[in-house]
Point group: C2
Chain length 238, copies 2
């Protein structure tokens, strides 16, 4: 740090932290060292560090949580909930790069929740598609998508050929499916969920249960999505 130039110390420090963030040395969501540690590293008083942090908070690059620490702000994605809810479209509009990975495709027997949502009999077969949705290479959500086997008997092949749920449903003539309802709750993540989402066990996840219907109002998909609550904000426009 240069203690003579016309540039305030705190501003130089702020610029350096800002540089570390843009150079990805400090990644979104990372915890900064404590103010006391930073003060030692930069050989300045803690108040000087606090002035730098205050500046970057004001700029929206850092966030401070009393008793926990100072963090690089994580990607906050607005996830729009509406009739036409499409992950990829929503994310692209925010100039971010969405990716959906497939974890598994299985056939299971419908439990009460699934059967009730899809309006089929309990214990009939449904396909379960597990996906991970990522934005700029950071996991955002885990999705479980249930489809009635009776209606989509060759779903697995079509999905593998098409590569995405939207495209697959188009092939089945349901390109114009709509979101009927979304139920939203929050809870702590399981160990598996936390490890997939790369998040702490004590940070909550947002859970949405949704039903998608075709143009004849028939339910074609029941989906449960588990979002990292620190990285997403659900938005309802009414």
């Amino acid at each position: 740090m240069d203690r003579v130039a016309g540039l305030a110390l705190w501003r130089q420090i702020a610029d350096q932290i800002k540089g570390d963030i843009s150079k990805d040395i400090l990644r979104p969501g990372c915890k900064l060292p404590t103010e006391i540690l930073l003060a030692q590293q930069f050989k300045v008083n803690r108040h000087t560090i606090r002035r730098s942090i205050a500046e970057l908070v004001e700029e929206g690059l850092l966030k401070v949580e009393q008793g926990r620490g100072t963090f690089v702000v994580d990607y906050l994605v607005d996830y729009q909930l509406g009739r036409r809810t499409r992950f990829t479209e929503t994310v692209l509009k925010q100039n971010k790069n969405p990716i959906a990975k497939t974890l598994s495709i299985t056939t299971i027997s419908a439990d009460r929740d699934i059967a009730g949502s899809l309006k089929i009999d309990e214990k009939t077969d449904v396909f379960c598609l597990e996906t991970i949705r990522e934005i700029d290479n950071r996991p955002l959500a885990i999705g479980s998508h249930y489809f009635p086997k009776q209606r989509f008997p060759d779903l697995i092949e079509v999905f593998k050929a098409e590569g995405s749920i939207s495209n697959m449903l188009s092939k089945f003539g349901c390109g114009d499916y709509e979101r009927q309802t979304t139920k939203i709750t929050a809870r702590p993540p399981t160990k598996r969920e936390a490890s997939i989402l790369l998040q702490a066990r004590n940070r909550p996840i947002l859970v949405t249960e949704s039903i998608n219907i075709d143009k004849d109002k028939q339910p074609i998909e029941y989906g449960v999505a588990r979002f990292s609550a620190d990285r997403v904000q659900l938005v309802v426009e009414t």
Copy 2:
């Protein structure tokens, strides 16, 4: 317990627990004794207790959390989010008894969030109304409601006279206010929030930020509500 009749032991035990729940001896949200304790009390094997609990979980009366315990399912209120979002109406429809208590009424200077949402200048005065919403005498949510002072100069008097936000807004000629947007996130509660909502620190809260507009599309209220995530489910019908 009668060990001779044609009725299985586990079923008799399940019925007794069910009775305790309906007689309010076991209240919603309460933790049951551990399986081992119940086994001792009923003088049966732990497996027998487990069979009873499994039955009541199936019936939706209990929920089990590994490592934590078995609980009487708590009130799960569906909170509908739409153009006309009104707490009292929503709750009455579900045959429950809503109460709104006022914690405080203060005047503060608008920060960036508040000013941006209400489309007023930063640092102009706003009224802040803090409320607690209860259902059947259990706290459900803490609300912070911000109103521009310029538009509602005598808000405090009118609110005290009317007793509710809806009625107050009616007096101001805004009875037909509508919900424009709702943003939903989740996070752990602060100590204060946990104590007001009577919930554990490690259970998350749902946070909604909403903007209400009058018939001329002017924002008249910016509200932040913090719901106990274990007791509410937000529902979006599209």
